[in-house]
């Protein structure tokens, strides 16, 4: 049913865990469907220095989380945003048709984390500007 690569990543998933003080967190999926993927990133400038995940889901969900985090680690956020679910699937040697949505979830989780990072940066700038104005007044 699963490729050897999927089994390898399921048996020994890479990057499991949380990052304390992560500056990017993305969570996708819902409990009703039985799949939740949460990705933590430590981004410095535009480079993803570290990435970890926590996943509630089936074997394919865990394997795609592991593979997707491996594929974006050390990359720039622009490079990470180019990651497609197909690339994750190919790297895993394919997925059964009913499990393709797991790879979509992985792509979405990466994007959600980066979106969170960008949002936080805007907020930081806004906060800074706000502070300046306060002082000036």
């Amino acid at each position: 049913m699963y490729s050897e690569k999927v089994m390898e990543h399921f048996a020994n998933p890479q990057n499991v865990g949380e990052i304390e003080n992560a500056n990017a967190v993305g969570e996708v999926g819902n409990v009703r469907c039985g799949d939740i993927m949460k990705i933590y990133m430590d981004i410095d400038g535009d480079v993803i220095k570290d990435v970890k995940f926590k996943t509630f889901g089936c074997g394919a969900a865990i394997a795609t989380s592991s593979m997707a985090t491996e594929m974006v680690k050390g990359k720039t956020i622009e490079e990470a945003l180019e990651l497609t679910n197909k690339a994750v699937m190919d790297a895993l040697g394919g997925l059964p048709p009913e499990k393709i949505h797991c790879s979509v979830l992985a792509e979405e989780a990466i994007r959600a984390a980066i979106t969170d990072y960008k949002k936080r940066q805007v907020e930081e700038v806004e906060e800074f500007e706000y502070d300046c104005c306060q002082k000036e007044n």
Partner: protein, 392 residues
């Protein structure tokens, strides 16, 4: 391998295999070809097998019709009865936790003008006979409630239900596929008009089952062809399979009390051990009216397919009612019917035993399972929140 998926299928019993082999080799004759010996040998074996199965379930031999599966028996019971009423009665009553063989046969009949009442069950999966009584109508043709549930092992009060059904002039069918070989099953005690059976659930071969049809019940023929099974279910008889089914049932019933006591003890050891060792766990189904070989748990915050894969890596075969494990988008209809929220239904694990299961195997599963659950929970974002709250 530790095989704990006996509600899915069982190993063929050595005695059943032994009984079957001659009919796969030298006695290959067609049971309908009576003018030469090998055909007559097959016919005689078929006769003896029918006699034996009838004896085991308290029926007459001419009330036992062999089929290709339990699924076929269920299909026949629903479709055959409705079509025999020829539009005079069009209402069916069943429960939300039936096997898909019944549920999908009912859904098919709905497309052909029938009305179906799907009775809810309580939190343990029990059908309330009072609900059956309330749902019965003048045009109710048949009520179909399973004797024991295949997922959570709940045993239904079929004798009580049958009495109510008959007092309203309807027919009573029970799917006894999971029950046979795991409890005493007697059609007279149950008071049913029709009963489905499947050989491979009690250490018989796959591809053979039977439908008990009480004498006097009008049912349409199901497979049209030759005169086999008194013309009701045509097709050259699967002699070896039928012989194997009869032998397996005899063997199971020979030591029924002893085997059930053994399975019940191991089942309880397993249930107690799991509940004791693993927090945030619930037992699905009831402790009392439960098949002697079935245990079904939900482990909160994790998903069933992952549990099965990790158990498989440790050599344990089991099953789950999660959506992924069932190959659909929703988790098991049975677990939803007993009121479990989706996320808890996704984390279910069924461990089902046989008379061959040993203490050592149960002990090993009790060693293997807790670290698997813990490991998956460590990976789960849902558990992260729970731990955070715990530490506060």
């Amino acid at each position: 391998m530790i095989y704990m998926d006996n509600n899915a299928t069982t190993a063929l019993h050595a005695k059943a295999l032994e009984a079957m082999l001659p009919f796969l080799t030298e006695h290959y004759g067609n049971a309908s070809s009576k003018f030469y010996k090998t055909g007559r040998d097959a016919e005689q074996a078929l006769y003896a097998a029918r006699q034996s199965v009838a004896n085991q379930i308290g029926a007459k031999p001419n009330e036992v019709y062999f089929t290709g599966s339990g699924c076929e028996a269920d299909n026949w019971a629903i479709k055959g009865i409705i079509s025999a009423f020829d539009g005079r009665k069009k209402h069916i009553i069943t429960s939300e936790i039936e096997h898909h063989a019944i549920l999908n046969s009912c859904a098919y009949m709905e497309k052909h003008g029938c009305e179906v009442t799907y009775l809810p069950v309580d939190e343990y999966g029990r059908v309330n006979p009072v609900d059956v009584e309330k749902s019965l109508r003048d045009d109710t043709a048949i009520v179909s409630i399973m004797l024991a549930n295949n997922e959570i092992g709940t045993i239904e009060p079929i004798a009580d239900i049958a009495e109510i059904v008959h007092s309203h002039g309807a027919l009573m069918h029970t799917d006894a596929v999971q029950a046979m070989g795991h409890m005493a099953v007697d059609v007279r005690e149950l008071g049913v008009d029709l009963m489905s059976m499947s050989a491979h659930k009690f250490h018989g071969p796959k591809g053979v089952g039977a439908l008990y049809i009480k004498n006097g019940v009008r049912i349409d023929n199901f497979i049209h062809g030759g005169g086999q099974e008194r013309g009701k279910r045509a097709a050259t008889e699967n002699v070896a399979g039928i012989v194997g089914m009869a032998k397996a049932l005899e063997t199971a019933n020979e030591k029924l009390a002893e085997n059930c006591a053994h399975m019940r003890r191991l089942r309880d050891k397993l249930i107690d051990g799991v509940l004791e060792r693993i927090p945030y766990t619930r037992l699905n189904g009831t402790r009392k009216e439960r098949l002697c070989n079935n245990a079904n748990f939900s482990f909160k915050y994790i998903e069933g397919e992952s549990i099965l894969m990790m158990l498989d890596m440790k050599g344990v075969a089991a099953s789950s009612g999660s959506a992924c494990a069932s190959g659909s988008l929703d988790p098991s209809h049975v677990l939803l019917a007993i009121g479990l929220p989706h996320e808890i239904a996704h984390g279910s694990l069924r461990l089902s035993l046989s008379a061959d299961t040993t203490d050592a195997e149960v002990d090993e599963v009790l060693e293997i399972l807790p670290p698997i659950v813990e490991r998956l929970r460590e990976m789960s974002p849902l558990y992260e929140e729970v731990k955070r709250k715990e530490n506060k």
